[in-house]
């Protein structure tokens, strides 16, 4: 019988984030009152963040398989085969709550955690991306959060030595009390050298590696599973502190150790630290785990079993080693100046046994800790349908040229250079396309292959119509990759939503996941990893539903790619895809007309695939080097971005009859691209497109030093650039 020093009161249960019925379930499972350590362990395993108890039943519908998928969801990261014996390993994860409380460390450890997920599987990280959403610019906290989060992401990634090659930054009042910081890491490994969490063999040593354990981050995962209120800032002590230097050493030591053949299983200590990593290794391998906490390297004195099991100190790993290889492993870790300790062994009891100072502090059934976590089919309601807004019902409050200038310099559409210049995006010497384009491109080792990488979602579409919004998020990521010449292979999703306990936000979650699944199927773009972040709300105000999609695509020859920049004068600008002038939920309607309303543009996935496949083939055959996919701000914003990137202007002369000019220029119809090509090639492309029924039309020509929209005053490229580049630096220095 285990001695119980602390009486488990209902208050204590509540503080651990467990509902009374969840606690009852646990007591029934173990047949007695738990110890305080056991209560801590179960609270860590059964919170939303670790157990996915509200989301699991809905996630089952997502397509996760394809011939090139080596490992889908359920491991530290997803794995896809990219040929030549190489695998791409990637995942995206949120660190929203910690980043709101302590932006620098919250964001830094978010990056650290996701890098660790990737190299735990044996991959060397080659790129990092992020997806950030902040509150409205006028909110007093926003500049401080932007500044801290960006510095934190840079501070960790730059030191660790991975290029941060892409991302997305946006602002909305709905994130005022709950920002989003989602980090994505991408790594490379050989397909026959991938490491998993599943422990094997009885009596094998369990080894603790990396930094020492301290009292930081205790209950971090529980915090991530609760909504915020005004007292949340008092939770600063539950935010961990990142040490990118230790992580870099851990990376090198782990990869060196993996090469030695000593590693049977490996799991990083992320959310819920030692608890979650040990349980996962045992449960996956159908084995028990016994840990002796006296052996755990501690940073602070007098740590209790409870504290050690729940600490979220960073830069730590747990491994099961081949017996007899401890010394070799220890030598490698000591070379890198890292802690190494055998802290336990695998057993055949299927129990999770924790010993400390000669006493058993916990003795729990290991499989049930994971498998028997509560599972909820939470009530949900469908979001009310929004009316379709007819293009000619929207009056233009200003000229199209003025609207464009306003948009290029607006918080969401302006240049994010101020952000990505704080990230080392050039280290490793493989960044073929830097931040600022449709998707980043990184070369795979010395080539010839390359990876196209992007993060994207349009939260206002998801709010207006979760199903279409979910589809659109996947379609846009797919389109981003296609626009640089990549073949989209798989994605990771970071599903940021408000409280699942409110049927409206649960309905948004359900709708978005359905839409994501539908698009993944149609586009052959499976989900291989992901993260669910619920309870993103403060004082009852939920965030916009934000299922961020991180997409990965492959370029067989990385030298054959396309970018957004106009490259020459006198090229024909061709619009691929059908334009109906869809203004509902558009940036134009929101930022120029001040109206946030209407149904978002529907996504015809068959058209999306057909148009995208056509554009990709044009790039891959070498016919087209200049492509931009159309999204926020439609044709006009895309033209401006192409002109600014290339320093070459354009004149648009063709536009359809019967559609208001502003609807044509700023409508956000889906499945569209702009390309610019030699006039000779243009005729062939138009013919080819016509032959297979793909809408394609020439809009005008590149050239000059200004962008001239039909019937509008010319806007010089210089003027566009000035507006585009000014907003964010001015804002951050208090001038905007």
């Amino acid at each position: 019988m285990i001695r119980n020093d602390v009486a488990i009161t209902p208050e204590l249960v509540k503080e651990h984030g467990l509902k009374p019925d969840e606690y009852e379930r646990f007591v029934t499972l173990i047949g007695r009152e738990p110890t305080i350590t056991e209560l801590g362990i179960v609270s860590a395993m059964w919170n939303e963040h670790c157990s996915y108890k509200s989301s699991r039943i809905h996630l089952r519908g997502l397509p996760t398989k394809a011939p090139w998928v080596i490992q889908g969801p359920g491991e530290n990261a997803g794995v896809i085969d990219i040929g030549d014996g190489l695998a791409c390993i990637f995942k995206m994860e949120s660190h929203n709550h910690p980043s709101f409380i302590e932006p620098y460390q919250g964001a830094a450890t978010g990056v650290g955690g996701i890098l660790r997920d990737v190299f735990t599987m044996g991959a060397r990280p080659i790129a990092s991306l992020n997806f950030l959403r902040f509150g409205e610019p006028d909110h007093p906290k926003t500049p401080h959060l932007v500044s801290g989060v960006v510095a934190g992401i840079g501070g960790y990634g730059n030191s660790f030595g991975v290029p941060t090659v892409g991302g997305s930054v946006g602002f909305d009042k709905r994130y005022n009390g709950n920002i989003l910081v989602n980090a994505m890491a991408v790594g490379l490994a050989r397909t026959d050298e991938i490491f998993y969490a599943k422990a094997t063999g009885v009596g094998n040593p369990i080894v603790y590696l990396g930094s020492k354990t301290g009292r930081d981050g205790i209950h971090g995962a529980t915090m991530a599973s609760a909504e915020f209120d005004d007292a949340s800032e008092e939770k600063r002590p539950t935010v961990q502190v990142g040490d990118p230097f230790a992580e870099k050493l851990l990376l090198e030591a782990c990869l060196e150790l993996m090469k030695s053949g000593a590693v049977i299983a490996i799991q990083d200590m992320g959310a819920a630290g030692l608890t979650s990593s040990a349980v996962e290794m045992g449960a996956k391998g159908n084995l028990g785990i016994e840990l002796d906490l006296d052996k755990v390297p501690c940073r602070e004195e007098g740590m209790t079993a409870y504290e050690m099991m729940l600490s979220e100190s960073q830069e730590r790993m747990l491994m099961v080693l081949k017996p007899g290889m401890e010394q070799e492993a220890e030598a490698i870790f000591h070379k890198w100046g890292l802690d190494f300790a055998v802290i336990g062994k695998t057993t055949d009891t299927l129990r999770f046994v924790i010993k400390h100072q000669g006493e058993v502090k916990a003795d729990l059934p290991i499989k049930e800790l994971g498998d028997e976590a509560p599972l909820y089919d939470r009530p949900w309601v469908e979001s009310p349908r929004q009316p379709v807004i007819a293009p000619d019902s929207v009056k233009a409050p200003m000229s199209e040229a003025e609207a464009l200038l306003k948009l290029v310099g607006s918080p969401d559409q302006c240049s994010k250079r101020w952000v990505w210049e704080q990230y080392d995006h050039l280290i490793l010497g493989n960044t073929v396309q830097t931040p600022g384009g449709d998707a980043a491109i990184v070369r795979v080792e010395d080539g010839p292959k390359g990876l196209a990488l992007t993060t994207d979602v349009t939260p206002r579409y998801c709010e207006a119509d979760p199903f279409e919004g979910g589809k659109q998020a996947v379609a846009e990521a797919w389109r981003n990759i296609t626009a640089v010449g990549g073949l989209p292979l798989a994605l990771t999703d970071n599903l940021n939503f408000a409280s699942p306990e409110r049927p409206e936000s649960m309905g948004q979650f359900v709708g978005c996941v359905k839409g994501i699944g539908e698009a993944c199927k149609a586009l052959d773009f499976p989900v291989v990893s992901g993260n669910v972040s619920l309870y993103n709300e403060t004082n009852g105000q939920g965030i916009l539903p934000t299922p961020a999609i991180g997409g990965v695509g492959l370029l067989d020859d990385v030298t054959v790619n396309a970018s957004v920049a106009f490259k020459a004068e006198g090229e024909a600008i061709i619009l691929i895809g059908a334009t109906e002038g869809w203004l509902g939920q558009s940036i134009y309607l929101r930022d120029v007309c001040g109206r946030e309303e209407g149904a978002p543009p529907p996504v015809d996935l068959a058209q999306e695939k057909r148009n995208g496949d056509f554009v990709r083939q044009l790039i891959r055959s070498g016919q087209v080097k200049t492509v931009h996919d159309l999204s926020d701000g439609g044709i006009a914003l895309a033209l401006a971005e192409m002109a600014m990137a290339g320093g070459v202007g354009a004149e648009i002369t063709a536009f359809p009859e019967g559609l208001p000019l502003h609807a044509f220029l700023f409508g956000e119809d889906q499945a569209r691209y702009l390309i610019a090509v030699d006039e000779d090639v243009a005729a062939d492309i138009l013919y080819e497109a016509g032959a297979i029924g793909i809408p394609a039309v020439t809009l005008g020509l590149t050239g000059g030093d200004a962008l001239i929209l039909p019937g509008q005053q010319a806007i010089s490229v210089k003027q566009l650039k000035a507006a585009h580049e000014a907003w964010l630096p001015n804002y951050m220095t208090g001038k905007a």
Partner: protein
Amino acid sequence: MKSAVIVFPGSNREGDMVRALTLAGSDAQKVWHAETELPKGTDLVVLPGGFSYGDYLRCGAIAGRATVMDAVRAHAACGGLVLGVCNGFQILCEAGLLPGILMRNANLKFICHRQYLRVERTDTAFTRNYTKGQAIDVCVAHGEGNYTADEETLKRLEGEGLVAFRYADAQGHITQDANRNGSMNSIAGIYSDKLNVLGMMPHPENLIEDLVGGTDGRGLFESLVSSFPKAA
């Protein structure tokens, strides 16, 4: 030409450096910081970029006192070539092989961007393949690249022509806008008295291929390799 790229805990551009040296025709190998000797026949020692020891103390302060640095100092004292890039430059300053120090950037932020440099002289082993006054397009990636020295040192560096590169615009003009980290006299790199030790903040090793931004960085590595007769 044999080069030794020193790897400290926290170095992270050693691979980029080896790639650039190899492309230029050097036999480049990595050397662990705890070594007491350089590999036999080392012609060039390179201290690569990164965050040695996390840069938790002053940048380069701990690495500057690493075991291998005695061998590097001895190599330099005999006229051997030493190149320090970014964190390597900071280490050279901390190790006393170059004067001055790299302070935090003027805007107090890490900055990574493409950057033109003006090549100040071309009669050294590092720059012979460039032309004098040429503006080369490379990149920077640092939080502490703001070169600072006392007045006397600065005077001596300028007087003896020991400034290797200055931050410039695309035409090679030295402008305030081009000097984003706020370095004194727009200094991006300096030589030792004997011109055998070069420290520079920018990264020529990341600009060696057209596919990845351009080839202006190659000149430095090709200069070094061509400074040595081909091994028999």
